[in-house]
């Protein structure tokens, strides 16, 4: 029944489509021909009546528009028919489903009632058994509880005692540690202060020695005639703890031989810097055994 | 340049003064002339009209007259400007040269010993050139005059004092032919 209902609309639609295709085909061909005439031949185009051309163009357009409208109407009718067929089919299906559902529900209700009766029976049986077991278990529980209680009391007592002892010990230790740390901090503070003082002292000793060496060398430096402002020579000096010059040599040359010589000679002319012997040996070792002296004349004529 | 201008001005005024002196033998007319001709000078030109010596007024300068003319002209330190007191004699020399085209002179420029030798040679050269210009302006021909500078190499006086120096800053005019 459903198949038959589709045949006629199908043939109709086919016919409509074929008609539309034929109409469209001629239209496309015409349209293709037009630009060919338009482009190169100006003189030929002039001879065609422009209004006639426009009318024919308009007619063609109108025909195409009607054709399109007819096709659209045919397509809409087809759509409507197919929608109605589909609706009908769906309604039939709904009806069948509802009937099957009602049957299934009735069957399930009967089954549930049967199972509930069975369960009630089983429940009563289990309850009776459980009550008996509970009675038995309660007696055993009571006994066990009493024994456990006794053990727990004893353990707690022991634990309490041990904990008290531990707490006391910890407290003692904590106090000890605190005291130790306090002492440590005090000692550290003292040590730092001592070190800072020593550092300050040694810095001041080093500073003193610096100006001492400078003044000794200024007295002994014979600036040669070739010296010019801006020249600079660095002499490295190795001292013995007695203050005697172990060796002195050019570390960075001025580029002027006489100037370099004069700088090294200034050191050897002093030869001994007696105040070194008063310096703490460790400080000497650390800071004063090797020195660099920069000879850089200022205020020369040139 | 200023020196040259000054020299020219002085020469002009000296010439005018001389001419005035000759024609009028009067000192009173010269003031106006000197004033007009000499804006920067000392105005001393008027005195030369009368004190110009025996030959200055004569139209013709003879070889005999030359003996009475000065041949050494002095200069200030580091200057090449001929002093006014030499103008009369130089003018007479110039007149002689113009009247005797076969005569010729050599001008020897000198400087005192102060300053450097080459600079003094240049200074002596400029002094000789100053005198040469005066001669030419007054009628001598440039071809009759040659110059040479000895700088400080040939002092007239060997002393090393201001008096000696002033005598050494000079141009000597020497006749090569009369």
């Amino acid at each position: 029944m459903e198949t038959r209902s589709y045949i006629i609309p199908f043939i109709l639609a086919l016919g409509v489509h074929a008609g539309a295709l034929v109409l469209l085909g001629t239209h496309w061909v015409d349209q293709e021909a037009t630009p060919q005439r338009m482009t190169p031949r100006h003189i030929e185009a002039q001879m065609i009546d422009l209004t006639a051309l426009a009318q024919r163009q308009a007619e063609k357009e109108r025909a195409a528009r009607e054709q399109a409208r007819a096709e659209e109407q045919a397509r809409a009718a087809e759509r409507r028919r197919m929608q109605q067929a589909e609706d009908k089919r769906r309604q039939a299906l709904e009806r069948r489903k509802a009937k099957a559902e009602a049957e299934r529900k009735a069957k399930a209700e009967a089954e549930r009632e049967r199972r509930q009766a069975l369960a009630r029976q089983r429940e009563a049986e289990q309850k009776r058994k459980a009550e008996e077991a509970a009675k038995r278990k309660a007696a055993a529980e009571e006994q066990k509880r009493k024994a456990q209680e006794q053990a727990r009391r004893e353990a707690a007592e022991a634990k309490r005692k041990a904990e008290a002892a531990a707490r006391a010990e910890a407290e003692r230790q904590r106090q000890q540690a605190r005291a130790d740390a306090e002492l440590e901090r005090a000692l550290a503070r003292e040590r730092q202060a001592r070190e800072a003082a020593a550092r300050r002292a040694s810095e001041s000793v080093v500073g003193d020695m610096q100006s001492y060496i400078t003044s000794m060398l200024q007295d002994s430096w014979r600036i040669p005639s070739t010296a010019r402002n801006g020249m600079e020579a660095v002499v490295a000096i190795h001292f013995l703890p007695s203050g005697e010059v172990d060796q002195a040599y050019i570390h960075t040359s001025s580029g002027n031989a006489a100037f370099d010589n004069s700088a090294v000679q200034a050191v050897y002319r002093v030869k001994v810097f007696p105040r070194f012997s008063q310096v703490d040996p460790v400080l000497f070792e650390r800071r004063l055994r090797k020195l660099l002296v920069k000879f850089r004349p200022e205020g020369l004529r040139w | 340049m200023q020196a040259v201008n000054l020299t020219k001005t002085l020469v002009l005024s000296a010439v005018v003064a001389l001419a005035a002196g000759c024609s009028t033998t009067s000192t009173t007319t010269d003031g106006g002339v000197a004033g007009a001709g000499n804006g920067t000078g000392t105005g001393g030109a008027s005195s030369y009209g009368v004190s110009g010596g025996g030959v200055s007024g004569g139209a013709v300068v003879t070889a005999e007259d030359l003996k009475q003319l000065r041949t050494v002209f002095y200069f200030d330190f580091d200057k090449a400007v001929v002093r006014q007191d030499g103008f009369n004699d130089l003018e007479a020399h110039a007149r002689y040269l113009s009247q005797n085209p076969s005569a010729s002179v050599r001008l020897e420029g000198h400087a005192d010993e102060r300053g450097t030798r080459e600079y003094n040679i240049a200074l002596g050269e400029r002094r000789a050139k100053s005198v040469e210009r005066l001669l030419v302006v007054n009628g001598a021909s440039a071809s009759q005059v040659e110059t040479v500078s000895y700088g400080e190499e040939k002092p007239a006086v060997l002393g090393h004092d201001a008096q000696s120096w002033s005598q050494n800053r000079r141009v000597e005019l020497k006749y090569l032919s009369k």
Binding site: Q210, W221, I223, P224, R296 | I121
Partner: protein, 435 residues
Amino acid sequence: MVIFKRVVAAMLMVLVVSVARAELVVEVTQGVEAPTSVAVVPFGNDTGQALPEDVAAIVQQDLGRSGFFQPMLRDNMLGFPTRSEDIFFRDWRLAKMDYVIIGRARAQDDGQIRIEFELHDVLREQAMLSEQVTTARDNLRDAAHLVADRLFERLTGLKGAFSTRIVYVTAEQLGPKRQRFRLQMADWDGARARTILESSEPILSPVWSMDGSKLAYVSFETGKPSIYVQYLASGRRERIQSFPGLNGAPAWSPDGNQLALVLSRDGNPEVYVLDLRSRQLQRITRHYGIDTEPSWSPDGRSLIFTSDRGGQPQIYQLDLASRDLKRLTFQGNYNARGRLTQDGRFLAMVHRSGGGGNGFDIAVQDLKTDRVDVLTQSAMAESPSIAPNGSVVIYATQEGTKGVLAAVSLDGRVQFRMPAVSGDVREPAWSPYLR
């Protein structure tokens, strides 16, 4: 990234370590400005014969006159060691000597004399130089100057100029109008003078070519000034083309191809440059004032000269390429005949301060700072000429009424007179290095 971090960390470590271990640095900016003390011990003589020259004495005089050294007087020496093992450094140290120079003369089989000499550092107690010079017996002065050159160079780093020569002009008054002029050449210390030109007319402005082979000078022998070039080896002379008027103040370019000179052929004294190969003359200055005394800068790119264009003589510098003119001197009312040191830094010149003193002195101007130092206290100093190593300026001055030569170290510390010769002496010119 990790590697980078490590590298950075390592670098930081190095930095920290190096900072921590940096040596203490002391700065010395003041000292005693004094000549270096040196003892030149009389040299031993192992030749078996008396020697015609006291080599050590010449060395001592050379070093002392340079202005760089303060030699110890022989009378103050405690001993005369001639070998290094005989030097008692402690004694020389107590005598405040920085260096001791010893030496000895030995006869060689070929009849030549070998001078062995040593330089010892008293303070370090070590030898700094030990060399020898071989020479003919009659040439010991040259050998002595050579020894001094070697020692000077070792001690100062500057090439010694003791083997150089000077030329100068003497003038003698023979009669009221008769003079004799001589161009003479001598060792730098004035010894061994000999005449290379004699004339009854003035000679002036002698100047050495840079290779030391010839001189240029001005001679009035024809009655007019002309510039001559004289070859020292042969004595041959050439007269440079002369022009009317002034021909003076010759100056060789450093490359020896050009001669700057002064001509007045265009009206007044101007500086010209003559190309000696093409004989082309180029006018350099153009001013109605006096332009004279040209001298080349050591690089040959500019000329300095004296000009009175500012109203009084001052020294100017003209760049030959750009023709830019720069006035160099501003202190004093007379600055002339400038000469530059070989390093181009210092200008020696004749200077008159203009203030209270009216004399002409030798002054040196530091062109870097324009500081001017007057080196002499003279009424009449002129013609400064600088040693090729820039240590000493020789100049002409007057002693009493006589012209003499004197020299002063560039710093003014040491002044000395050249040995007296007959007549007035003037126009000294110091040779370049001759070997």
